[in-house]
């Protein structure tokens, strides 16, 4: 058994809550646990937010393609966009998790969440498009 959700949304932050709602609805149908749902919604928001903020181009000028495939043992998430080349897993700054409050910088935290919460992550540049792939195992 597997279920598939495909979305194309303009590269605007305001579009992302709708993406989260659609993914949560898929999770309810597929019986994801609360932790799996949180990880997937968070991972997708962080990656898509990076695309909007760092992809270049005016908001609404291009589209982000999102595909979520849920099977019995894992959920696979693909995000594709035509923004400038950016590998979030190697180019985003590493957060300093040990810094005190006054010294702590916020950069890179979203990507750090994705790396920790997902079981597999990968990035490739294909035909002038970024392709981020994430896998979350369901148990």
């Amino acid at each position: 058994m597997s279920a598939n959700l495909q979305l194309r949304v303009p590269n605007r932050i305001e579009e992302l809550p709708g993406v989260s709602e659609a993914v949560e609805a898929l999770g309810r149908e597929e019986g994801w646990t609360q932790d799996v749902t949180y990880a997937i919604v968070l991972g997708l928001e962080e990656v898509a937010t990076n695309v909007v903020r760092h992809g270049g181009g005016e908001p609404g000028s291009s589209e982000i393609e999102i595909e979520v495939t849920s099977s019995d043992d894992e959920v696979r998430i693909e995000v594709r966009d035509s923004g400038k080349a950016f590998d979030p897993f190697h180019e985003a700054p590493e957060p300093d998790l040990d810094a005190e409050v006054q010294d702590r910088q916020i950069g890179g935290l979203g990507v750090h969440f994705v790396k920790v919460l997902m079981d597999e992550t990968s990035y490739s540049r294909e035909g002038g498009r970024n392709h981020v792939s994430m896998v979350k195992r369901r148990s």
Binding site: I13, P17, S20, L42, P95, L97, I106, F113
Partner: protein, 111 residues
């Protein structure tokens, strides 16, 4: 997302409800910063009704903690759900901001 504010003497309790993500984190920052008056000695942020927070929301929590730290006002968090607690642990924020199980515990420590 909504921020409800109660005052317990000089301790301000901000209850955050709903979801904080990249689409509303600026509004979250405005509501939270706007709620904290000059005469406050401690701030307790009750996250018991917070269903979801991403790095955009954590950024706001860090900014507010920095601002308060410069004013020598203490800040603590309480009543985090398990997934929200996980996000704070992964970020390392649980090591730089005090987190309590309940609002009563946080108030006792702040008072």
């Amino acid at each position: 997302m909504n921020v409800q504010v109660d005052h317990h003497d000089k301790v301000l309790v901000a209850r955050v409800e709903g979801r904080v993500d990249s689409s509303n984190s600026q509004d979250f920052e405005r509501q939270l910063q706007g709620a904290i008056g000059e005469d406050v000695q401690a701030v307790v942020v009750d996250l018991g009704q917070l269903a979801y927070i991403s790095s955009a929301g954590l950024r706001v929590v860090l900014l507010v903690a920095k601002t308060l730290g410069q004013r020598n006002v203490s800040i603590s968090l309480c009543a985090l759900s398990d997934p929200v607690q996980s996000v704070f642990e992964i970020s390392g924020f649980n090591r730089i901001i005090q987190i309590y199980d309940t609002q009563a515990d946080a108030l006792a420590a702040a008072g």
